[in-house]
């Protein structure tokens, strides 16, 4: 069989913020660039980001600088971060935000005409450049329009199935299929950048779209790269809980940054009861003190509603468990009693719209019912901070698919800035790798044929299972056993179940033809979803402590010994059902001057 084939210097998988930013960089370096996305251009998950992108520009608080941002990021990540990524991110984010305006972005402004910055959890100063509550849309549209104006090849609705090596084991290309026709297509590339986003679709209550299946995480693992910190999953504290059909849909942290507070069914502003010792020195002790802070950050300490996301999510969980939840099992997020209707509509237009249309709730007069929802995976492909290179030669990774930047917990606003900082670095890293000249040869034909045969197998079976049933059961199993609060027995059970799911996937029967068949597409997603779930569960079993986005009921405290390394996963064999091998990977040693930044504030 011969397939449609294209060759590029750099092939970018994923057209969200990181992928598009990487494409711009590689194009500007004169390379031939192709972008492949499984949706239409401009629909990637980046559009859902609401609150803003964190960059220490100091437009609102001149006291802000990269050192404070670095410290906030490391503290938020419970020091499990790749310090070098956090350092580069804090230093480079302001320039990456500013350049977006050259390409057409229109951020909200300060009175003196600079980019306005807003408060978010875990950030010491108001630091998030934003456009109302649709900052992700602004980012993706700006980058999309720039990429289009540069004349870049974009393959839309084209799903990558597997990365392919050359005969020396370098990453040399990939196999994909075009969703509208179901025809296979191959790409040869000197370098491939994974920018595939997250993996949250394997949980039942999630803010992730159908795309968040972890394909990039899984393909990297199969291709010889390593995954780290997979147990660290962020449950965003404020997802909608009602109606059921929108359960998980996000309510931006900007609501809290702009004055919204959390209350339990007794009307109590409960977050004051959940301030961990690490954050006590800088968190307000009373409502009076907290309320002064919104207008002047020097008049009082921060409201506890703006603690990092992992802290807030655990607190909400505890209130609901103690029987002080709302009728639909969440807590109340109240901005109506605290800000004027006009203010709310201007600052939070999408939230107003979302609650009005989907829940019939007017957030200018009523409280929102919210609860934790699976949102973001801190874990991902282990990369070299400066170049985004993975352990698989020729393969790079940026954005949510990459691990290390956020440690055990990501601060809100650090994701959009992560995309543009490391998207650019991945583009540059790939370009330098190509310039060095030692690139892959032709793709191994057997690997291509095997990937195609695997993709087609669900059509050929006489009988078998509906992929939607497997996906639903997987989501329920992961939600119940590898959710926000974890314990050994449930994790062991989940690990066993995942082997059963592996067998079920081998028995999928797909109905219908190959052209735009969502059932078939799901069948090709499931191997990646199960691979990622296995890595998450193994990491969660091994990490016998609680840290950031990994909370163990049976090991409630952080253990300093576990703060010295990441769990790094690789496979024995490179197939989706190959055994996953896990080892401890020591954290990079931090230079003294950076350590001093963290010490000062402790």
């Amino acid at each position: 069989m011969t397939y449609e084939h294209h060759d590029y210097d750099v092939l970018i998988i994923g057209a969200g913020g990181a992928g598009l930013r990487a494409a711009i960089e590689a194009k500007q370096r004169g390379l031939k660039v192709g972008i492949v996305t499984k949706s239409l251009l401009g629909k990637a998950h980046t559009v859902m980001a609401e609150g803003g992108m964190a960059a220490a520009m100091g437009n609102v608080y001149p006291e802000d600088n990269w050192m404070v941002h670095f410290r906030d990021t490391m503290r938020g990540g419970k020091y499990l971060n790749n310090y070098r990524m956090a350092e580069l991110h804090a230093k480079e984010a302001p320039a990456r935000v500013l350049e977006l305006e050259q390409w057409g972005a229109l951020f909200d402004r300060t009175k003196d005409g600079k980019i306005l910055q807003r408060d978010f959890g875990g950030h010491r100063y108001a630091r998030l450049a934003h456009v109302g509550d649709r900052t992700g849309l602004e980012l993706i549209r700006t980058l999309q329009q720039k990429v289009v104006s540069m004349g870049t090849d974009v393959f839309m609705e084209c799903k990558i199935l597997k990365l392919v090596h050359d005969d020396q084991g370098k990453v040399a290309g990939c196999v994909a299929y075009r969703r509208p026709t179901g025809e296979f297509i191959t790409f040869g590339a000197k370098a491939i950048i994974l920018a595939t986003g997250g993996a949250g679709k394997s949980w039942k209550f999630t803010s992730n779209s159908w795309e968040g299946t972890g394909d990039g995480h899984a393909m990297a693992l199969w291709a010889g790269a390593k995954l780290i910190d997979m147990e660290c999953i962020q449950f965003h504290p404020t997802g909608m809980v009602w109606p059921l059909s929108v359960r998980g849909l996000l309510v931006t942290e900007g609501v809290r940054g702009d004055g919204g507070v959390l209350r339990n069914s007794e009307g109590k502003r409960f977050m004051f009861d959940y301030v961990a010792p690490m954050f006590r020195a800088e968190t307000a002790e009373s409502e009076e003190e907290a309320d002064k802070w919104y207008d002047d950050h020097t008049a009082g300490r921060r409201p506890p509603e703006l603690l990092p996301r992992d802290e807030v999510a655990r607190a909400i969980n505890a209130e609901v468990k103690a029987g002080r939840g709302t009728p639909h099992g969440g807590v109340y997020l109240d901005i109506a009693s605290r800000r004027s209707a006009e203010f709310i509509r201007r600052r939070l237009p999408s939230m107003y719209h979302q609650f009005m249309e989907l829940a019939g709730v007017d957030i200018t007069t009523e409280s929102m019912e919210i609860g934790p929802t699976c949102h973001y995976i801190m874990g991902g492909v282990q990369v070299v901070a400066d170049t985004a290179a993975t352990a698989a030669p020729g393969l790079f990774a940026a954005g949510e698919v990459a691990g290390g930047m956020h440690g055990a917990n990501r601060l809100g606003g650090n994701s959009l800035s992560d995309l543009i900082v490391f998207g650019k670095r991945a583009g540059a890293g790939a370009a330098e790798y190509i310039e060095a000249g030692d690139v892959a040869g032709p793709m191994n034909r057997d690997q291509i044929d095997a990937a195609v045969a695997e993709a087609l197998a669900p059509f050929d079976r006489e009988a078998g299972e509906n992929p939607y049933d497997i996906q639903r059961d997987l989501q329920e199993m992961m939600q119940a056993n590898v959710g926000i609060i974890r314990t050994q027995s449930e994790l062991d059970y989940a690990r066993g179940q995942l082997d059963t799911f592996t067998e079920r996937v081998k028995n999928i029967k797909v109905k219908g033809g190959r052209a735009y068949n969502p059932g078939w597409n799901l069948a090709t997603d499931l191997p990646a979803m199960i691979t990622v779930c296995k890595a998450v569960t193994i990491g969660a079993i091994l990490r016998k402590e609680s840290r950031g986005g990994h909370t163990r009921e049976d090991f409630p405290g952080a253990d300093p010994e576990f703060g010295k390394f990441n769990f790094a996963h690789s496979t024995n064999g490179g197939n989706w059902d190959s055994e996953i091998v896990t080892a401890e990977s020591p954290l990079l040693p931090m230079p003294e001057e950076l350590k001093a930044l963290l010490e000062e504030e402790k």
């Binding site: 229109l106 003196d112 289009v148 059921l244 979302q354 989907l358 052209a515």
Partner: protein, 259 residues
């Protein structure tokens, strides 16, 4: 649990027909929930686009009871009793079932001459909220393309697609023309190649916009005035007669200075 009958168009470029599915419906559900239930049970190969299911990505546009809507933002309990009809957007060629070939729009996007700003000062550009606000309204666009779908200039006259950009791109042009930093001039392009004159202000686009962008009032009409001013101003007309103004074509203007 209530039940509902959905009449869903199934087929491809070679033709198709409605199929009826009777499925469960829960409180608070939107049309997309019910379509997903059909996929998960009776018809796993039912093709539909969706991404965010939150009204932010614009992927799931379809015609619900004949009207362009986002399936993820249309609550079932707001629709009249009886079967709900779901069809693909009419203006674009069918790929399969509810999925259409919207490449017309991406081709239009390629024709837009990019923003051409002055070099950036070291600490960034200074722009004021009043100046960015107009453009921000248009940048709320989620590219669902329902305004394109409903615009009769191309809905009823396929041939007009050759020389008509459509409402989505008129707001894009308006945004660029009103951008505080832009130095590009697209007025001739908009008049001659993008077919702004074909729009006769019936406001169908504004009515369907899920972002409530005032497409006609705030973008198309000011754009028409701007283009007309440029073209029919007698002084400018005389100027052009004497010295043919250099026109920036889309491809020239799309070349950006090296950053």
């Amino acid at each position: 649990m209530a039940e509902v009958t959905m009449r869903v168009w199934r087929g491809d470029a070679n033709g198709g027909d409605f199929e009826n599915y009777t499925v469960a419906q829960n409180e608070g559900e939107v049309v997309l929930d019910v379509i997903h239930r059909i996929q998960a049970t009776e018809a796993p190969d039912l093709a539909c686009r969706w991404n965010c299911k939150a009204g932010k990505c614009g992927s799931c546009a379809a015609e619900i009871n004949g009207k362009p809507r986002l399936m993820c933002m249309t609550r079932m309990d707001t629709l009249p009793e009886g079967p709900v009809t779901v069809t693909p957007m009419k203006t674009f060629p069918i790929i399969r079932d509810l999925v259409t070939d919207v490449s017309f729009n991406f081709a239009q996007a390629e024709k837009v001459p990019a923003l051409l700003p002055p070099p950036m000062p070291e600490n960034g550009y200074v722009m004021f909220q009043e100046d960015v606000q107009r453009g921000q309204e248009f940048r709320k666009c989620i590219e669902c393309f329902m305004c394109q779908d409903v615009c009769h200039v191309i809905r009823d006259h396929e041939g007009n697609k050759q020389h008509y950009a459509g409402p989505r791109f008129f707001i894009r042009y308006a945004e660029l023309e009103m951008h505080p930093l832009d130095t590009n001039d697209r007025r001739d392009l908009i008049r001659e190649d993008m077919g702004l004159g074909y729009c006769n202000i019936t406001k169908c686009c504004t009515e369907v916009c899920p972002e409530h962008i005032k497409i006609t009032d705030n973008a198309i009409i000011p754009l028409k005035e701007r283009v007309v001013d440029a073209h029919y101003d007698p002084v400018a007309w005389l100027g052009r007669k004497i010295r043919r103004k250099t026109k920036r074509s889309a491809s020239d203007a799309a070349v950006q200075p090296a950053p």
